[in-house]
């Protein structure tokens, strides 16, 4: 084996010829790599931002949250021994203006030390203590703009909250610990703990989250991460049955982080798809490269280079160009977090710590290189058998259709490495496997579609229209655009259609409503003592409503069987049930909207050991079956109950549903509130809903009323923001398709010019040639669109039903819109290219031929 150095020298010398014909390839690689690196770097910036600002977001080094109850004196003194404590309470409540209009708000009650870390911004500028302190016997409040708008109040006005009135002293612009206090559906009202105490909203069983933050080593250096972890572990050991949610500043919200990971992963997978679509451009470029270099490579062969050395030279040149594309993509992707931080940093609710992340860059580099290798090695491998006889005469034996086995094997090995990397690096392995398998199947199917289109065009009966004959001949002749157009456009469009349909299903889910079943209102925190009066109120104000009520308290799952919930590996789709606390209830009969699918419901007068009914899918995800035990901490008490039956719940109705329903004797003595829903047989209109809301707030000031219409609107707005990110990523995939398409058209330009000039010489007009091109592009675009539509629908259906576990419904309008858009674009792009071709003067070209 000769040393590689001369091959490198020969390759680099040849590269002096410039990058003609490789610009599209460069753009494809750069765009794909930029997407992957950009998305991953942004996710890392976000994770680092959360970690960097963790102390301020949490309001301390560690936080201990409880529902329903505050810390016991023993717990408090234990925590106080480890640092300075500050308390915050959050709950939902109704706020009313002086005219009686009511709106749901998130109350955040703080002690005078708030915020222990970071700064709160109020307008006009003042300290929180000054804003919240009582003045002339009236407590102050700082209110978010959204609540000021909704209740049509301004600074200086008063709001009624529960049993007291508070004066609005400032607008609440920002809170350092907002993210750590949870993102609610309602706007924030900041009051003091003393004010909350007077509202009468805090009653046994009411849904108040009490959080105590611990600032370790106050006034000194923040403690190390390991010291915080050790403190959390010690606290859990000291109070194993506290039932609190204890988090450190390094891991503020595991659920939020996981969702963030999932979302960025989804975007990264779209980025990967765009890189794969770009791969078609890479293959076209490699093929064009070998064609252009035919004489040079054959000459090298004539003077002693072996087939393998020829391929090595071509590969070195091609990979050198790939490295330029990758470098461009890495640079673009790396600056994305800085760009987002500069442009949108002020409006996104998360802290960003933009940086250059070598790991993400390395991953993008690996993906870029592997893509180039997978798609280029087979076309470049054909150079191995490039006949030198081409240098002597035009007539040569046609080359082999397939490159040698070793190059095919290399391409397969690189593809396997790409798939292994994509799946291995993915936290959502299943989704990654689906994307990889779908891409491989998509490629094979598109190849078949292209062959079928060419075969159909070849066998088409002889048409009388000359333009049609030319168009059909262009579709099936050797070197036709058909495989490139069908592959690039078909794949890009499949991604777009799939995302459009998934988006449509998600929106449908949010807008999904079944009259009488989907409630218009949730009434929360109805004290047990008021439930009778509230029933009467609803009968009077909403006589047609289907009213469902249930006693409710919050509980955290502590043990599954005899294994602690912490660190328990639940199936991904049910992991949420172990994160934070859940609403629990008791009932002597199966709740409305639930069907018992396994086991028996307990008798109405059951008085034995605690029994619980569990939702079927959650039981499966936790590996639980009938007869197993589950321990839940409710009101500071660990309750272990045996699973008596499993229920199937229709979560999508938005009706009241509980994961855990206990036998009445288990919880009946515990203090609790009631949750009531009201569903109407038909839409009663916004005005009637607002009137009920207002009257409920007037008559029952401690009851929080959640209007489902408002909640769904907030959810739709959130979905809009997510959809924007998804659309941007899929836009990249489609842009890559367009690039590939443009590249294929450009590569074909030379032979098109030749054909056009010859046909013009023979008497063809520009009109007839344009018509022929139009027919050709329309037929190709239609074939690719039909495939994109079918494959996109199949992929969306698979993801919706298997991954999201929702019902799939095909929506013609958005899917057709995408497909017709792509068809129109193909024709337009083709015609733009053709117009320039048709503008060529025959004489000038003929002289060159």
């Amino acid at each position: 084996m000769k040393p590689f150095v001369p091959l490198f020298r020969l390759a680099f010398r040849d590269l002096r010829g410039g990058l003609a014909g490789l610009r599209i390839f460069l753009a494809c690689v750069a765009l794909g790599v930029a997407t992957i690196v950009g998305v991953n770097s942004l996710a890392r910036s976000l994770a680092d931002g959360l970690s960097r600002d963790g102390r301020a977001i949490l309001g301390g080094d560690a936080a201990f949250s409880l529902i329903h109850r505050q810390l016991s004196p023993a717990e408090r003194s234990y925590l106080a021994a480890h640092g300075a404590l500050s308390d915050v309470a959050t709950m939902r409540a109704m706020a009313r203006n002086e005219a009686g209009d009511a709106a749901l708000v998130e109350i955040k009650a703080v002690d005078p030390s708030w915020p222990a870390i970071g700064r709160a911004e109020l307008t006009p500028a003042m300290t929180p203590q000054a804003a919240l302190a009582p003045k002339d016997g009236v407590f102050g409040a700082a209110v978010e703009d959204a609540a000021l708008d909704r209740l049509k109040v301004k600074i200086g006005d008063t709001l009624a909250i529960g049993a007291i009135k508070v004066q609005i002293r400032a607008a609440l612009e920002s809170e350092p610990d907002r993210l750590g206090s949870g993102l609610g559906l309602a706007p924030r009202v900041l009051v003091s703990l003393a004010a909350l105490d007077r509202t009468g909203l805090v009653q046994p069983g009411s849904l108040v989250r009490w959080t105590t933050r611990v600032v370790m080593n106050p006034g000194g250096e923040p403690p190390s991460e390991s010291a915080v972890k050790a403190f959390l572990a010690d606290a859990k050991k000291a109070f194993p049955e506290a039932g609190w949610e204890a988090v450190g500043r390094g891991n503020i919200s595991p659920a939020f982080s996981k969702n963030l990971d999932r979302f960025t992963e989804f975007l990264a997978l779209i980025g990967l798809t765009s890189l794969i679509v770009g791969g078609v451009g890479v293959a076209n470029a490699a093929q064009g490269f070998v064609e252009r270099k035919r004489a040079i490579l054959a000459t090298l062969k004539a003077i002693g280079a072996t087939g393998g050395e020829i391929v090595a030279i071509a590969l070195i040149e091609f990979l050198a160009v790939t490295l330029i594309g990758i470098a461009g993509g890495l640079a673009l992707g790396a600056v994305l977090p800085f760009f987002v931080n500069d442009l949108f940093g002020a409006i996104i609710p998360f802290p960003l710590a933009p940086g250059i992340f070598p790991g993400e860059l390395a991953l993008g580099f690996a993906y870029g290189l592997l893509t180039a290798f997978v798609f280029a090695i087979a076309p470049l491998g054909r150079a191995h058998d490039l006949p030198v006889s081409a240098l002597f005469r035009d007539l040569v034996e046609p080359g082999r259709a397939w490159p040698r086995r070793r190059y095919v094997a290399l391409a397969i090995a690189a593809a396997a490495a790409f798939a292994a990397l994509a799946i291995g690096m993915s936290a959502e392995r299943r989704l990654a496997i689906i994307v990889v398998v779908a891409t491989v199947l998509g490629f094979l199917a598109l190849r078949l579609v292209a062959l079928a289109v060419m075969a159909t065009a070849r066998r088409a009966p002889r048409l009388s229209g000359l333009e049609w004959r030319w168009a059909l001949a262009n579709i099936h002749r050797p070197g036709a655009l058909t495989p490139s157009v069908v592959l690039s456009l078909g794949l890009g469009l499949a991604v777009l259609v799939a995302l459009t349909l998934i988006d449509n299903v998600l929106r449908g889910e949010i807008g999904h409503a079944t009259p009488s079943e989907t409630p218009s209102f949730y009434f929360l925190d109805i004290p047990s003592a008021d439930i009778g009066a509230f029933r009467t109120f609803l009968r009077r104000e909403a006589p047609s409503a289907n009213v469902v009520e249930a006693p409710m308290m919050r509980g955290r799952i502590i043990k599954i069987g005899d294994r602690p919930a912490e660190g328990f590996k639940a199936k991904d789709n049910v992991a949420w049930v172990l994160q934070g606390d859940r609403g629990v209830t008791y009932s002597d009969q199966p709740p409305q909207g639930s069907i018992v699918v396994k086991g028996e419901w307990w008798p109405a007068d059951y008085a034995g050991p605690p029994l619980v009914s569990l939702e079927e899918e959650i039981a499966d995800g936790l590996g639980l079956k009938i007869g197993d035990a589950i321990t839940v901490n409710v009101l500071g008490r660990n309750i272990t109950a045996k699973i008596a039956n499993l229920r199937k719940v229709n979560w999508r109705s938005f009706a009241m549903n509980f994961v855990l329903v206990y036998s009445p004797n288990t919880l009946k003595g515990a203090p609790h509130t009631f949750l009531v829903t009201a569903a109407f047989p038909h839409d009663i209109g916004s005005a009637a809903e607002l009137s009920i809301l207002r009257d409920a707030a007037r008559d029952f000031p401690t009851v929080a009323s959640l209007r489902v219409r408002d909640a769904l609107r907030a959810l739709a707005q959130l979905l809009d923001k997510l959809a924007l990110a998804i659309r941007s990523a899929s836009g990249v995939a489609l842009s890559t398709s367009v690039l590939v398409l443009a590249g294929a058209l450009a590569a074909n330009r030379r032979s098109r010019i030749y054909d056009s000039v010859i046909l013009k010489t023979l008497g063809a007009t520009r009109g007839r040639l344009t018509a022929a091109f139009l027919i050709e592009y329309a037929l190709l675009g239609a074939a690719a669109s039909a495939f994109g539509l079918a494959a996109g629908a199949a992929a969306a259906s698979l993801i919706v039903t298997k991954v999201m576990e929702l019902d799939f419904a095909f929506a013609w309008a958005p899917a057709l819109e995408a497909a017709l858009g792509a068809l129109g674009f193909t024709i337009l792009l083709g015609l733009i290219g053709s117009w320039r071709i048709l503008g060529q003067k025959p004489a000038a070209i003929l002289r060159e031929l």
């Binding site: 001369p6 020969l10 590269l15 004539a302 003077i303 002693g304 002597f392 005469r393 007539l395």
Partner: protein, 231 residues
């Protein structure tokens, strides 16, 4: 003839497939002595270039043996043939086929580099000087005249010191005066190095400068001309 440079026995070659298949070489047998200069002449399509390619190992015959410098090409792999060609056979093309992105010096050094020669550039400089292009090392093909390009091609063909030099109408793309100069140079260098020359040409005067002329017609050797006494 003892130890010939080229020996061809009963060579048959067809190209194309199905109805388009053309029988290009039919039963060709031929022996060329070391140091001999042989001119291949004949009308277009008679098989001259194909015979040249076959004896350079660029085309595999359907039947028959090709033995170059005592080595039978039949059993050799593609890669072995490439290495053999790089070391023993120099080729001069009608269209020069220089690599446009390489300088004259780099073009001449390329076969030496491929052969792993450590002194590739020194030898390339000497070859270019031998063809009268000492001042043109850094010029790219596009910056050279046709005659100069063919001189570079000649230097490149001779650089590995091949035992056999094959030339396919080397003056076909040049004007008469330039062509004459190239031919003079070709014969002079061949004589100096003692290489065997096989030359395809349409030019009877050029063919007459060879030791022997072989006329091809429809893929067959028409009438072997008697060998002229070697100089």
């Amino acid at each position: 003839m003892a130890d010939p440079a080229i020996e061809i026995r009963d060579l048959d070659l067809s190209l194309g497939r199905g109805a388009a298949r053309v029988h290009i070489l039919q039963g060709i047998s031929l022996t060329i002595a070391r140091g001999e200069a042989v001119g291949l002449i004949g009308p277009s399509g008679s098989g001259k270039s194909t015979l040249l390619m076959t004896l350079a190992g660029l085309e595999r015959p359907d039947r028959g043996d090709v033995i170059i410098d005592g080595v039978a090409l039949a059993g050799m792999s593609e890669d072995a043939l490439a290495r053999f060609r790089g070391a023993r056979i120099g080729i001069v093309f009608q269209s020069f086929h220089l690599i446009p992105t390489m300088t004259a010096l780099e073009n001449v050094a390329a076969p030496l580099e491929l052969a792993g020669a450590a002194d590739a550039f020194e030898r390339a400089e000497a070859e270019l000087a031998a063809v009268g292009l000492a001042g043109r090392f850094a010029h790219y093909p596009a910056q050279l005249s046709g005659g100069e390009q063919q001189r570079v091609a000649l230097a490149r063909a001779l650089a590995p010191r091949p035992a056999i030099l094959v030339a396919d109408e080397p003056t076909g793309n040049l004007d008469e005066a330039t062509g004459q100069a190239i031919i003079d140079l070709l014969f002079e260098l061949r004589a100096e190095r003692g290489a065997t020359l096989v030359l395809v040409t349409h030019d009877p005067d050029l063919a007459a400068r060879c030791d022997r002329t072989i006329r091809l017609r429809s893929g067959r050797i028409e009438a072997p001309a008697p060998a002229r006494a070697l100089a």
